[in-house]
């Protein structure tokens, strides 16, 4: 498939836009539809398109499986550490009001941080699952 010129040119044009849209959905989840979950999937879709067009080896060069595994755990860690941080700051678990001086700002920071954690975990899980699936398919002579 990597010989196909039209696919390569179009996907080179599309992938940055997909990644940018993913970041927009991630950062703008408070104001418009979307959030960490959708953003993670869209962000991963950009990488999967890259893997589909340029091959699995090229995708592994960009994001090695070891990196995605670490990021998978990092997202959950970020989420839980926000919860523990609010506990140390005198609140309950995931009680965002204690993150900043005003209640509104605290909630804002808390939501941004946990959405980031959700996004990182979802994106890296989807990329990792895609890599593992296609690796098996190509290795088994598919």
């Amino acid at each position: 498939m990597s010989e196909n010129v039209i696919l390569r040119i179009v996907s080179k044009f599309l992938i940055p836009l997909i990644l940018l849209f993913g970041l927009y959905v991630q950062a703008h989840g408070d104001y418009s539809p979307g959030g960490g979950f959708q953003a993670g999937v869209i962000f991963a879709a950009g990488f999967i398109l890259y893997g589909l067009v340029f091959g699995l080896d090229e995708l592994k060069r960009v994001v090695p499986l070891s990196t995605t595994i670490i990021l998978m755990a990092f997202g959950v860690l970020l989420y839980t550490s926000v919860g523990y941080l609010t506990m140390f700051l005198g609140g309950l678990f995931l009680d965002y009001a204690h993150l900043a001086h005003s209640e509104k700002h605290g909630h804002h920071y808390g939501i941004l941080l946990i959405e980031l954690g959700v996004g990182i975990t979802v994106a890296s899980v989807v990329i990792a699952v895609y890599q593992i699936f296609t690796e098996r398919a190509t290795r088994d002579g598919g």
Binding site: P33, Y79, G110
Partner: protein
């Protein structure tokens, strides 16, 4: 129902998902539509296609009438239809879901949390613990796939 090619089934499932996303948009559930379009129509289709590549595309030689399966499907459908009249009318403001915690969330969100998207405030703030559980489920699923599919590679090599 009469498709014999698994590839066609996957494509139809993706199209169905996209149509569902359009219906959710019509129902003003934009967040759900967004998720359905990206996960259901996008990633699920890609992963199902990858699975097809893994197990090789299989075609059924002839169509078989599986009588017990048909009876079970019809029975389930009949039961679901039977329960429809007992459901509250669609969009009725007197419905129970509009009187539980939803009014409180809608009223409080601008004052306490200060963000316009109530869906995000419910998911990430009021139900933050649920979302933590969801992320943990996704993480566990990823770990499971890694353990099941990636381990044999190291064994063989």
């Amino acid at each position: 129902m009469f498709l014999r090619d698994l590839l066609a089934v996957v494509i139809i499932a993706g199209v169905y998902s996209l149509l569902m996303a359009a219906i959710f948009t019509q129902l003003d559930a934009v967040d759900v539509a967004f998720t359905e379009a990206s996960v259901g129509a996008g990633i699920s289709t890609v992963l199902l296609l990858a699975t097809l590549a893994l197990i090789k595309n299989q075609k059924a030689d002839k169509y078989e009438w599986r009588i017990p399966a048909i009876i079970l499907a019809l029975l389930t459908g009949a039961l679901l239809l039977y329960s429809v009249p007992a459901m509250p009318l669609f969009g009725n403001p007197q419905n129970p879901i509009h009187h539980h915690v939803a009014p409180q969330y809608i009223q409080e969100t601008p004052e306490i949390i200060g963000i316009p998207n109530v869906v995000t405030s419910v998911l990430a703030d009021y139900r933050g613990f649920d979302t933590l559980g969801e992320v943990t489920v996704i993480f566990t699923a990823g770990i499971g796939v890694l353990l099941l599919l990636a381990r044999r590679r190291t064994k063989k090599q």
